[in-house]
Symmetry: C2
DNA sequence: TCGGTATGAGAAATCGTTTTTTCTAATTGA
DNA sequence: TCAATTAGAAAAAACGATTTCTCATACCGA
């Protein structure tokens, strides 16, 4: 089972050259006859030679390895980011260590030290909450660090989703569909994103539009509907929810009281959490934060940094996009919104190019 | 920022010894005065020396790195397994490469090759379905392989959850609570686990107990209730569902038709998918597959194998455990079932020791 | 024909450890 | 007292690549 591994010296011997020449031949460096180069390549191919990354790392001082640090144990947010990172790096031969540290700073230090020992070329820090930091200090590390979907110290390189823009999309969509009376049912005020979204929502829906703060649960969605419908005042015909779970609660509550969706009321969610958004009745139109694209960009950045390129520090905001299902009615216009499923797979960048706008 | 890394030679110089001696001092090998050893340790501590894992790996032929391969991109099953693996290995200084390959065999080969290049000490293969294999050939690899929560070729080392035992737990629990008339609403017959669970269920509930096959969705849970209630025949007073989503559909449907849970009917789910099980009304009593424990065991096994120990091939089944919430009524007895939340954190092993029973 | 310059390829140094071998001095035994 | 051990530590080899030096040989112009 454990078959002998082929070394470069084996290739060299078969090709009848020195290891030095063999190395140069395979790396397209050095000078030699094209015939010699080809002979080495043939030998390497025949033997199925693959260079020992340890040896290569030792001399080149690059391990072709990066670490992804997260406290999002059950991975709603981390996994799409991870998928993007991995996708951006695998073609360069870079592999990703995933380290889940919960919220344990001791564990965090252990994992960071382990990564450093393994001479990762860079570390990407990510989390489950955009306005909180991991309980580890990543400043003054001997490797570059990129923060993705998490809060970061000033002067660092950060990627986040553009919550305000996402909220803008959602509210505008409701308006476009002819809804006049919008409400926003969202999470706790202690979340920074909750404020960002609420402001963006009000900028579109009107400054006296109702915003209800609660927690992130379905139950809260239920309660919010009860408040909106039973407490008098004009009832909304469009509801923008802070996440898909709340939206689900809202939809269930509306159905229970016989309010028709999307005929009477349109509902938009946030997160495009496939498993939730597709299971609601009707399927939920929602905002996708394009976390996979965010991960891809994080991968590209850490790669550039590890190659010694310099990257402008600051916060880069990645646009969210609207995913249209059935909870709003209306058909997607030809422009921005995407129809139906594509959750994390598509590029989902609204603007051309890489779609990032440096900011704050 | 990129501070100079300390080498062993620095430590040696400070301690006034040769690198050979320094190495031996830190590794508790070789012969020397205790005073010398201590002097080296002090120097290492003072300089905060951490050995270069690449160099170490090169000479020792162990990278202290393992790969986790999965096709479960959005990680319901993989993440708990990963958490367990990581937990079992971090104390040994072993880090984990996570490679998500979707169902793309080309991508799979690329990732496996990348891991092999990096000289991983072993590979753990896992997936989203216990009776399917990843689209990559892991036989004849130069490193050990452990299969966890996935199908595997004959003669390999495999860890799976004991679905039959889990189903047995669920059905027995319903019987213990005095339910007489059980039904099982589960997934497609094409899943091997569906059969295993159905058989175990019937062994407890009676061989003519109703089993309804469908898909894994909430919608199917709704439909199944309609079938059970509207098609005549005696209505069940206990329903065991194939997963938590189905259970959720069942609970919603029962509530909609005014059937009281748990007063009139008890419902048990499967998976203990926290986010789902806790959001149902009432919160769902369900079966936990103890995937984190499974991951831990996979980690231990791959570690043993990478240290050259031999491990008996075969399928090892890990017991599931009942997590009691409110959807069945009744109080948990003092023995096996766990009350309330602890989803993946607790050890969850029913039997003592490592709780594994080698099997077929 | 001779000095100077490409050219192709091998020799050797290097990366930072671990491990084996060698060396020196001290201790032991007869 | 002198060889034989032995303890302690240094020197050197190894791991498997990359990269820098070095060295023939061929080619060029004068």
């Amino acid at each position: 089972m454990p078959k002998e591994r082929i070394r470069l010296s084996d290739v060299a011997r078969i090709a009848g050259v020195s290891v030095a020449t063999a190395s140069k031949a395979l790396n397209e460096t050095g000078r030699m006859t094209e015939e010699t180069r080809q002979r080495v390549k043939d030998a390497a191919a025949k033997l199925d030679f693959r260079p020992n990354a340890m040896a290569r790392a030792l001399v080149s001082n690059r391990s072709f390895t990066v670490g992804l640090l997260t406290n999002d144990t059950y991975g709603r947010f981390t996994l799409p980011v991870m998928a993007g990172v991995s996708e951006a790096l695998i073609d360069e031969g870079v592999s990703v260590f995933l380290c889940s540290i919960e919220d344990d700073s001791t564990l965090g230090k252990i994992h960071v030290d382990a990564m450093l020992d393994k001479r990762v070329d860079g570390i990407i820090s990510t989390g489950k909450r955009i306005d909180r930091r991991l309980p580890v200090d990543l400043s003054n590390l001997p490797v570059p660090v990129v923060y993705a979907f998490t809060d970061a110290p000033p002067g660092s390189i950060t990627l986040v989703s553009d919550d305000a823009q996402g909220a803008h999309e959602a509210a505008s969509w409701l308006i476009e569909l002819g809804r006049k009376n919008l409400a926003h049912v969202t999470g706790p005020e202690s979340f920074a994103t909750v404020h960002d979204r609420a402001s963006a929502f009000r900028a579109v829906a009107g400054h006296d539009a109702k915003v209800l703060y609660g927690n992130w649960s379905e139950t809260w969605g239920h309660e919010a509907v009860a408040m909106l419908w039973d407490e008098g005042g004009t009832q909304p015909d469009g509801i923008f929810c802070g996440n898909d779970q709340i939206a689900r609660g809202v939809l269930d509550a509306l159905r229970e009281r016989g309010v028709k969706v999307p005929e009477d009321v349109s509902v938009v969610g946030f997160d495009n959490w496939e498993i939730m958004a597709a299971a609601t009745r009707p399927p939920l139109t929602t905002i996708d934060m394009n976390l996979k694209a965010l991960g891809r960009e994080a991968g590209r950045l850490i790669l550039a940094l590890s190659e010694g390129k310099t990257v402008e520090p600051g916060i880069r905001k990645l646009p969210c996009s609207l995913v249209v299902r059935d909870s709003c009615g209306g058909a997607p216009p030809k422009s921005s919104p995407r129809k139906g499923t594509p959750p994390h797979g598509a590029t989902g960048m609204a603007a051309g190019g890489d779609g990032f706008a440096p900011a704050g």
